[in-house]
Symmetry: C3
Subunit: 281 residues, 3 copies
């Protein structure tokens, strides 16, 4: 029994009609589809962010949900279009351009198929070369979510190892210390999220209530160095105070209580932004 959940992500914005066209084509496939979204506000062309948002959200969605992610600066070029089946029981429809990096590394994928666009393409869209989101990804995602086609009908299997991945630096721990990267921003509040699981901090001797020395470097240049409390939530420090906390995915994160950490300290994200944390003794 299909739950008919179809979840879109893109960098199209909602100011104009593009997203609506994708939804219209999908609902033309089956008007009873339950369409939702991760966000359509991915920074334009930011494949890293697209990859992170897929990772961030998919665990909250029920098994059988079909995701369609369209951050596609190479639309019209030779990049592949794929559907992956994840360990968590989801399908993700996306260009093969790195958007699956976090999903592959942190969750794992069971199988990958390249979309055969000769059969999986909206009728009468052959002359359209700049809107695969509507013509291929949205249409194919809708037919998968509606149960009109199965994963096997997408196209030929390809090796998961052939998927294009962005370079990710893995977190590491040692006694009293952990290090990793700034993986993303919680953009609305300006919180800064690392790729270091809270459990790794625990295993290396750091606990809530400790004071932690935090150092952030951008391509090796020190940008931030402070001793700050590791607390249960923002409200444990005064408004305007820096705090280390476990975010909603149970990774280490940094916040200025009711302020914008990323902006105040001018912090970016990605593999060039490394962070090390050490328990103060």
């Amino acid at each position: 029994m299909k739950n008919k959940l179809l979840v879109f992500q893109s960098d199209f914005g909602r100011e104009e009609g593009t997203v609506s066209q994708m939804y219209g084509v999908a609902l033309g496939v089956d008007p009873s589809l339950r369409i939702h979204e991760i966000t359509h506000e991915i920074t334009p062309f930011d494949i890293w962010e697209a990859s992170y948002r897929l990772f961030q959200t998919q665990g909250s969605w029920p098994t059988g949900t079909v995701f369609v992610s369209v951050v596609d600066p190479g639309v019209g070029s030779e990049r592949k279009s794929v559907v992956v089946q994840t360990d968590g029981g989801h399908l993700i429809v996306t260009p093969d351009n790195g958007s699956l990096t976090h999903t592959v590394v942190k969750f794992g994928v069971i199988a990958v198929r390249e979309i055969d666009e000769t059969v999986n393409r909206a009728p009468d869209s052959e002359n359209s070369h700049t809107f695969h989101g509507r013509d291929v990804y949205g249409y194919t995602g809708a037919r998968l979510a509606a149960g009109i086609i199965d994963f096997e009908d997408v196209g030929p299997l390809i090796q998961p190892e052939k998927l294009i991945l962005l370079p990710l630096i893995e977190p590491r721990g040692s006694s009293g210390a952990v290090n990793g990267i700034i993986d993303i921003h919680d953009v609305h509040y300006g919180n800064v999220w690392t790729n270091i699981p809270s459990i790794m901090a625990r295993e290396n001797g750091m606990a809530l209530g400790d004071t932690i020395e935090v150092v952030i470097e951008n391509d090796g240049v020190e940008t931030y160095r402070e001793l700050i409390p590791y607390s249960r939530s923002f409200s444990a420090v005064p408004v305007g105070g820096d705090v280390l906390y476990d975010n909603e995915l149970l990774y280490l994160a940094l916040s200025v209580n009711q302020g914008n950490f990323a902006e105040v300290y001018n912090i970016g994200y990605g593999s060039g932004w490394t962070i090390s944390l050490r328990k103060n003794s």
Copy 2:
């Protein structure tokens, strides 16, 4: 027969994945839930605005709708989590931090229950302390809207008088005059809405077509004083002209036709922003 309507409000924004996680958890409870929203663009941490938007919108939604409001600067602290049953036949799930002020004062509530988080919390979320919107409020709202639990299953009854309320100044009328506060902005257009019902203006001798002297003070300091027409709609004055009108909730409101009243005259909102209106004779 449940209508399965679940309506969210938050200050999370839609730029990233947080709202999507709440929706995913709710749809994991029941994929046939009809999820809609008030807005996710509440000014961060602005409990007054959250309170007003709940008041503004709930009357338009059918009986049985479940609202989930998450403006929660105190997440992780000791503030209570509650569900209220309103006079209008709605349920509202929210932190008890003042978000229910306008609802209590203008509509009234029938009963309040504190959420027992030992039973009303998403599975495996015990270690998450910063995302009650997903783990407690969204999950509980979804189970109420789906009919899996009833209001009685939320947790123990508490006295409605114990709810935390922000200080509200009530409007008053006298012959030819009314006064009150600037209750909120119609932010997209910059119109300024008072807490004075249009009917109170009528009862005190003011009518459409009158010229009205409007005075706005911020903590007692005069910010605006003009004689302006009281008109049926914006288009009754030239573009750029000030106008007093009855807003969509039938309260007195101020507009610059096709302009931004709040910005032009630098007006805020809340109990510190008082307004008095007097019929010009």
Copy 3:
């Protein structure tokens, strides 16, 4: 069998409760309606943009979809409220203020009815004069989408020729050249879309791979003149390069690859923004 699709467009924004009120009233008519949107981010009062977005999106939506468009600077004045039945099998509910211009000129309408507001108005909304989007348009659209009323129940027929249209300049072709206007922006990316069908370029001897001289004038004053490639997609030119391409509706369009054409060259849209393209020989 109704598909129950109801698609809204407005210039209300999503920052506050107005859109939610429209949706609540519609779902009070029938909670099983499938409400979606074109956008609520139309530039305030921009009837031209509203007209274009209706044109841009309606072709992607299935037959039977009901659109409600509320860009209504004249709310409360004597402008008519209408429902049109389009050649494509859609209904559009809107103020008669020019919002239907592109729909009429590019698709055609079969029949137009003026809304009889004595019967097609939300209960108890008689004293509300500034929110026809909720009280008349949303409510009537919902009852049409739900199948509670038919097109015949809307109100009296009026002549399609009586609809208010904005002045549109039609595109023209001659040997090796085409000209028209800048019809709209793809605002999120800053691409600039013309009203010249790609097929008209083909018929006048222009082909992918050609170099084209593009001239844009604003009320007769030259704003842009360049020789640029006519390519299959953005990625055919380097990042930062200008490119002419066929947009998703198969009209000629201009882009700076991963840049913002409209902003870089300060381009507007509408009948005052003319464009001519000539094949370079």
